[in-house]
Symmetry: C2
Subunit: 200 residues, 2 copies
């Protein structure tokens, strides 16, 4: 097989990648990260392990990209409402309640795996945490530029901690999955006041 034939054979369309990511998430929910094997992904998706490794490098990368792919939007391109409150609400509304409940279950399942697999932690930071932090930073920077928040407000570096707290603590404290309505009250009651931003 020539190099070109190999490259052609390994080319994966966006539709095919979406199918693979869906299968990876199904397997994750069924068996968890530690028991998930590239063999199982290959079998479930009728693809070759060589293709999977060529395309994604390994399990950690494949899982992080599958989770990333399941998230809505992925970019802030459409979001610029003219206020920090509007932008944070719009970010929250990118996921509907079903999506949030699924996300919350998935992230719980992965939280432990992330901490016992340094390569998964690395892939998660690269494909999930960093892009979300970058999105939040752009939203915050626009609010600073508009004069809505002071650039030296010490809460700025904790925006992601606050948001994750609201999301993750909801199930444990309230025995309910996070919803849009909950997160929007939390943004209005906690995130905006901590930042000293207008709440109305």
């Amino acid at each position: 097989m020539t190099e070109t034939a190999a490259a052609r054979r390994s080319r994966i369309t966006p539709e095919r990648a979406a199918e693979l990511y869906g299968a990876v998430l199904d397997l994750l929910r069924e068996v968890g990260y530690d028991a998930l094997t590239m063999d199982a992904v290959a079998a479930r998706t009728k693809s070759s392990k060589a293709t999977l490794y060529r395309q994604w490098g390994g399990k950690a990368e494949l899982v992080a990209k599958a989770v990333r792919h399941s998230k809505p939007g992925g970019s802030l391109d459409g979001i610029d409402t003219g206020s920090l409150k509007g932008d944070l609400h719009a970010l929250t509304r990118r996921s509907d309640d079903c999506q949030m409940e699924r996300d919350s279950a998935l992230m719980r399942g992965l939280a432990m795996a992330v901490h016992s697999n340094p390569d998964l932690l690395r892939a998660f930071r690269e494909h999930l945490v960093e892009p979300e932090l970058a999105d939040l930073r752009r939203v915050i920077q626009r609010a600073v530029d508009r004069g809505e928040i002071r650039p030296d407000n010490p809460a700025i570096e904790f925006v992601m901690h606050m948001m994750i707290g609201g999301f993750a603590a909801r199930t444990m404290i309230d025995e309910q999955p996070p919803t849009q309505a909950f997160l929007i009250s939390y943004i209005d009651a906690v995130v905006l006041p901590a930042l000293g931003a207008p709440t109305s």
Copy 2:
């Protein structure tokens, strides 16, 4: 064996309970909640399964109480500094950094188990979440009584979400375990301003 003899035989001293709780936490770290059995606890601690069941009812209760027991203080009796800032800092200082790192690893390990075992979730709420919420509510009520925060501030119901967020998000976002210094900056930058409480 008479009822009285059984009761006498099952009596467990605080020292013996502490030993048992330590062994339960060791086993939890080694094998996780799902693989932990009452047989293993009995073998490890050289106690009878009957005693364990008599004293704790079951695995969920035993694990929740072991985790509770590993937490410092457990009561706010000694904490009344005269300001919300002082009280929240004092709460944070009840755990040293080693304790927080251990707690954080343990809670990650249990987060998933809590959600797939309704009896563990119930025991956790009863022995861990509710007592901590009650502690926080008392601290907040004193701040309201002193006029430091308004009783209708909507952030009041989210204090525990904020605190858990700071604690849980630290590892994921910053790749560092939570420390006293981190939590104290977080309280000053986020929790107090969200509550509209004095920060100095």
